[in-house]
Each structure stands twice: as C-alpha cells, then as structure tokens.
Amino acid sequence: MAEILAERYTGASIRRSEDPRILTGAGRYVDDIKLPGMLHAAFVRSPLAHGRVLSVDVSAARELPGVVAVITGAELEAMTVPGPDALMALMSWAGPTPQFSLLATDKVRFAGDPVAVVVAESRYLAEDGCELVEVEYDELPPVTNASFALDPSSPPLFENLGDNIARPHSRSEFGDVAATFAGADQVTDVHIDVHRHQNVPMEGRGCVASYDADRDLMTVYAATQSVHVTKIAIAMRLGMEPEKVRVLAGDIGGSFGLKIGASREELAVAAASRAVGRPVKWVEDRGENLTASGQAREESFDVRAAFSDDGDLLGLDVKMVIDTGSYPGMGAMVPGTVEAMFPGPYKLAAFGFESTAVTTNKACYVAYRGPWASETFVRERVLDLIAKDLGLDPIEVRLRNAAPRTDPPAAMITGRPLVGVTTRESLERLAQIVDVPAFRRRQAEARVRGRYLGIGVATFIEAAPGPRSPGGPSGPLGTESMRLRLEEDGIVALFTGQMPHGQSHQTTLAQIAADEFGVPFDQVRVVVGDSDVVPFGLTGGSRSATMTGGVALHGARQLKAKVLDVASHLMEASAQDLLISDGQVFVRGDPASAMPVGEVARQAATGQAGAGVDTNLEVNASYDGGEGGWSGGTHCAIVDVDAETGLVRVERYVAVEDCGALINPAVVEGQIRGGIAQGIGAVLLERSAYDQDGNCQSATFMDYLVPTACDVPRIEIEHLETVPTDADVNFRGVGEGGMIVAPPTLVNAIEDALSPFGVRIHEQHLPPSRILELIEAADPGQ
C-alpha cells in the first residue's frame, strides 16, 4: 500500500449517509415509534380566542369504550409543577413572567388552546373522546392586534401581569442620534410591517412518553432540536430529577426553530403517561400545527432615516413593536437581537432603537429561521426607498454604505466587530453575474408591451457564529462539546449534542473527522439523539458548522494524538514518526508497517501497549468557536409581475454567499435554497391569518399556502471564500441566511417592477390581491 494521504472529504459534495435509510422508508421518525401497550393522546382545544373556562365535563368521554383517561387542566396541574417557560428560563429572561398552566384551567388564551387531553387505545378513539368533552366558556373580548394590546384598557391575558406587555418599552442610543438627524441633508419616515407566518415543518410536533414506575424513569421519544433541552423542560415541569428523564430522538422531519424544549402538549403527554402507567403517543395533525404549534414575526417598525444628498446613510431611529401571541416563548427576547443586528454591514453615525413586546390572543411566538430577520428586511427596504428618492442604483447605494474591510475590522455601531465580512465583495461579484444595464434595457422594452419586470437586491450578514466579543473570555456562541472514541472495530465514534433535523450532520461531521483522523468516511459514526449518551447541545442558530465542525476537527486531532501515542508503544516507533492514513497507522516511509487503527484499539484494550500508557482511546473535546466570523452575502431576484392578476413570477434568483470554507457544497447549497424557498413563501404566499374575533383563518394547507416546485425557480449560487479567521476552522453556518435575505430581495424586486405605477411597498406579504391593491392605490406621479 502506498503511503499517501487519503483524499480530502471536507469540501466535497459527499453523498449523505442519512439518505439510504430515508430513501427506503427506513427512517425512524417519532410517529414510527411503537411501544407495547402504547396509548394515543388527542387534545380538546378552545374554539374561542379569549374566554373564561366555567366548567369542563369529561364524564361522557371517560365512559367511551377505548378511552383510558381524560385529564383536565386542573387535574394536570395537580400532577405537575408550576414554572416559567423552560426556554425563557434557560435564556435567563428577567422580564414579565406570565403564570400559566399546561392545559387551560381558568382561561383560554387563543383559539386552539388545549383544555383537556384524552388518552385512548387509538388516535381515532382519542379523537372520538374529545368530541364528548363538554366545555362551558364565558367569552372575553379578544385582543387580536398589537395596538389594542398596548391600550391599557385591553383585558389582560395574564392576570398576574395586569396588562398585555410582554416586554416593557425600552430605548437605546448609539452615537449622537439628535445631532446626526439635525445635521442630515434629508430625513425620511417610513412604517414597515412584517406579517405573521410560521415554520411548517413537514412533520409536526410529537412525542411518545413512557414512564417506568418501578424505576421512576421517564423515557421520552421526541422530535426536538436538543434532547437535553427537552429533558430539562420535562424534568422541571414533572418535578423529576433530570437524571430520571431520558430523551431519545431519531429522524426528525424538519423544525426551523419550532421544536425546542417541550411544548405544553408534550409536557401533558409525559404527565399522562406517568398517570396511566402506559406509554402515550401524541403526534399533532396539520390543523394543530397551523393553529397551535406557534407562529413567528408579526412585527411593526417606525423608522426614521437620516441620509445625505449623495446617498450616505447617516442614522436610523427605529421603534419596534412585536406581537408575541399568547403564551410565553421567544418573542419577548427577539427585540434584543434585532437591535444588536440592525446596522448590518453598514456604517452608521447614529442609531436609536426602542421596542415593546405585547401579548395577544393568537398562537404563541416561536423561533423561526432567523428570528431577528426583520432587521434585515426593514434595513434593506429602507435603503431601497432612499435609493429611489435619490435616483441611485440599489447596488451603488449599498456599496457606498457598506463598511470597508479594515484591519482591525470596523465594528457595528451596536458593538460587534465586522471581522471577515465580505459585503462589498459579494455586491461586486453580483454586479458581474447580473448584467444590470442589460436588464434595464429589457425592462424598458417589456414595459412598452405592458409587462412589468423588476430587479431587487439585498444584503445580509448572519452571526454564524459571529465574532469573538472583544475582551470577552468565551467564544461567540459559548462552547460546543463532543466525545470521540476509537472503537475496537476501527470505527471513530463522534457523540454530539447536535440534533440534526435535515442539516446532514451525520455526513458533514464525519467528513471533517475522517480527514482529520485519517480514516475513510464510512469509518466514522456520528451518534446523536440520546440524552444519556451525548453531551449537551442544541441544533439551532446556525451554530453547528463552526462550533460542531470545529469540535469535530479538534476532537479528532486530540484522539489521533492519543492513538498515535499508544501505537508508538505497540509499533516501537516515536509518535512523531507515525501517521494515520486510510484507517491505518504507518511508520513514516515504511508502508509495510501498516497497522489498522482498530487493531491499535484492540491491542490497547488487551494491555499490549505496556504499563503506564494511557490506553483509554476516548476524548472529551470542547471548542469555543475560535475567532468566529460571519456568514453573509448578497441576493438578487428578477421578477415578472402581472399587473392584471397580481401574480408574481420569480424569473431568476442569484445568491452570492460567503460562508467561509464549505464542508459539503451540496449540503450548503441545499440550506441556502431551502431558506430562499421559505422566503419566497413568506412574501408571495404564506400568512398566519386571524379574523377580528381571533379565529385562525389558515388552519389547512389550502389556506396556508407553502411554495411548490412550480413557485421556486432554479437558484444560482456563487460562493465566496474570502477571509480565513482561523488556522483550521473556517466553516460558517448557512442555516438561516436564505430566509433572512430572500424577503427583502423579492420585495425590492417587486417594487422595482411596479415603479411605473409609483408603488412604494412598506410590508412583506404580497399575494396577488395585495399587489392589485397597491397598484390601485398608487400615485403614478411619485
């Protein structure tokens, strides 16, 4: 065998190791779990947005054959421990803390609020049981929008708060806001709305809970982004010691931020299993997913922008109101991130930001792919509005305002250094790919024929993981842990707290570890989804490329050093003279010396390395993200808007992205395209709609429209890899960027298409009916 290094897996579009099982129906999703004696749960849900619960009569349901238990909100409270929302507690939320029960007891707070759970021998029977539960309500005035919620006379959803304020008003200033606005050539005011929409993973929420009374052990098979966060949430509310709770997860059918911790329903299912002493499964149906799993965005912004006659953006002053829906989730925490990220890659002399979060009688706010994304939408919209007022090209106005790449790097006015940010390079590259002057000619010719084409550009940066904070001891996103072990069969096993739900970690982490350790790709096994086995972790926030990729690389390096130390004793050679390639240890220059790494592990386990040698071929590695860095880029859309029907066709979409070094280009591009598709849906199709009484109007896939293969164009992607910040780890996340920047890219393009009508757009949701309204209401003189 020749002494050559194995080809590098990192950087190649290696076929996914997840695919053979998912392509053959052998994936194991939570609904595929079947346990002996397993029962099925279904929830009785409120038909009202806001009301007092006067009585809950479960007697008829309890008598239905096949129904094993019916648990009301009050009964469930007696079985569980009150407490705050686990996610808010984990994130150290210190603001208003609503008191609520897992199932409604005294009040219902949105249409779909769970009131009782029926546990039966089948899902069919459980739903039959729900039909027999009689709940009497006293209707209360629904609080269905933020302006009513801000009115002190609105009935408070949570009595202990006394009002509907989830995050009290606050204001921050960076730079001299008053002086900047006073000295600016021009100041403009715009109001911009972002509508309510939601994650909609193809698999909804669900779990199977199985309580073992003899051992007081709770095992929960979950669909979750973190088995450990789910475990903590369950232990907290069930009043169990965390070590008595084990959370397992297999394949997960998407999440996009939805499946973090444990929902109220999942906690109720775990409590029900403990109560009845049998396993209980609950998998939500699409109606529950659309009405009750949670929704995102619904934010409004009053923006005042100061700029020069030449197009220099000087200052922004922003007032944000976020409608967080009913029960506590992430909504109240979002304004802090929006504030920090608002300046994006641009120079600003001054920035004012104030925010308020309110509670309303709608489904609760959940994280959705780039929860702070509205800052990019608003900023990129405002830049286009300014460019339009000044007659400037949208690429030019961005190049003019993007902070130059300097050493040391410029910092956002809110503090974070723009280390390695390549906004200018992405804008310049985009201008090379898309021939804007040629498009303008085509656009002019098309208008003559009554066709309205438009081009839109938007730029973003994504903290994936973001830069190391100046002077801070910890890394950009805390630390990431991984346990790595060389097995006696030669397998390098990686135990990670990442909980992939489409991100392909079982492939990408294996690529990195295989290269670093020196084994073939299929000799690395990535172990996920068992809280008894894997270290703490969470898949979210686009953290895994840098953080988990980094710990895989450094952990494999540490494990390799250990293996080489043992091998040096076995092979009677200095460790410096040994190398590992293609799964074998060699003495440098002596191919005949090859010893398979599994053989090293076997001989180590049987004591052949001699006394005093550390033969425990396992390491616990951690990684703090190194210098970190940003992902980012510029997207461009060309759209064709039919002014008669309001239909928008995306003719071309180009993404110039910089996520540093690519681990697996096909995986990276899948993340980018998937995010863009969700952004297309958000603008053209998707809206979580409520009527004035708080009834959800988008409870089916015929009302909540998500993009199909006919709505998403072929997406062109160009990668930049401009600025390494670390000797080894320059992978950066791409989980959220597409969803962050596609909405402003599209809306900018649509406004450009409609410019002959004088249309100015101050919102994100533009279905055909709204396009027609905008054309109708526009003033062509503008």
Binding site: S13, R15, R16, E18, D19, P20, R21, I22, L23, T24, G25, A26, G27, R28, Y29, D31, D32, K34, Y124, V200, P201, M202, E203, D251, I252, G253, G254, F256, D285, R286, H501, G502, Q503, S504, A666, V667, G670, Q671, R673, G674, I676, A677, Q678, T700, F701, M702, V706, T708, A709, C710, V712, R714, I715
Partner: protein, 155 residues
C-alpha cells in the same frame, strides 16, 4: 371489515375499521412506516403510494377501498441489488434534507416517470407540484428525477 390486498408483491390481509385510512392501515396494521402523514387532507403528498399503477394519497383513501389492489410503498422499491433507480438518482443528487416528504416524492416520481419517461424539467415540476417539501427549495429533487429519467433513457 376483512380485506386482502397485495403490498410490495406480498399478499396481506387485515381487518381495518371502515373509517381507517389506507395510510394508517399501512403504518399501523402492516408496520410499513415509510409512508408518512404530512397533512391528512390530501395537499402535501407525503403519504403518496402507488395503487394499481397510479400514485394516490393514502390519507384520502380508506383501507377497505384498497381491497384486492396492488399497492407499492416506499419499502417496495429497493431490491437485493440496491436502491431503485429513482432512489439512487435522488441519493446522487442530494435531493432531500429532513426526509419526511421523501417517500411521497419518490413514489410520485416513480409513477410519473413510468408514464412519462422523457419528461422535461417543466413537466417534472408540474408533476411534483402536488408534493410539498419544506427543506430543499425543490431544485435538488427535480434534478434527481431528471437524472433518473436520463439514466433510464441511456440504459
């Protein structure tokens, strides 16, 4: 009600309740959990199986309606020789991410390509427009179907 049908080439019998969907019968009674339920109202296509040669939504069909039929599910496509041609092309094309919609797309594409072996991209997009994928933006799936078609023609 007692029914007998052929599933993936094997004769299977069962006694589903009249109201039980074919999807639930396949998943619960026959333990073929590869067929997934994404909406249970016939829009998302995740539950697509092939019944007597045609792609159908098994959430909208009752099990008893499938009595006497020949049903193929995602579990029935691979052979001892390996993945079926559509599965293989989709693996090679990085078609999927979370995998939940996958069985429906694979079954829909399989049925479509049998009837339209030389379909072009627009025809493939239209044929798959009744299946929802939330992860990929579809391009990689379309590429997988086109690759399977191309290989089939070259074979």
């Amino acid at each position: 009600m007692d029914i007998t049908l052929r599933v993936n080439g094997t004769t299977r019998s069962g006694s589903p309740e009249a109201r039980k969907t074919l999807a639930d019968f396949l998943r619960d009674d026959l333990n073929l959990t590869g067929t997934h339920l994404g909406c249970e109202h016939g829009v998302c296509g995740a539950c697509t199986v092939i019944v007597d040669g045609r792609a159908v939504r098994s959430c909208l069909m009752l099990a008893v309606q499938a009595a006497g039929s020949e049903v193929t599910t995602i579990e029935g496509l691979a052979t001892d020789a390996g993945l079926g041609p559509v599965q293989q092309a989709m693996w090679d094309s990085h078609s999927f991410q979370c995998g939940f919609c996958t069985p429906g797309f694979v079954m829909q594409a399989t049925a479509f390509l049998r009837a339209h072996p030389d379909a072009d991209e627009q025809e493939v997009r239209e044929a798959l427009s009744g299946n929802i994928c939330r992860c990929t933006g579809y391009q990689s799936i379309i590429d997988g179907v086109l690759l399977a078609a191309k290989r089939n023609i070259e074979r």
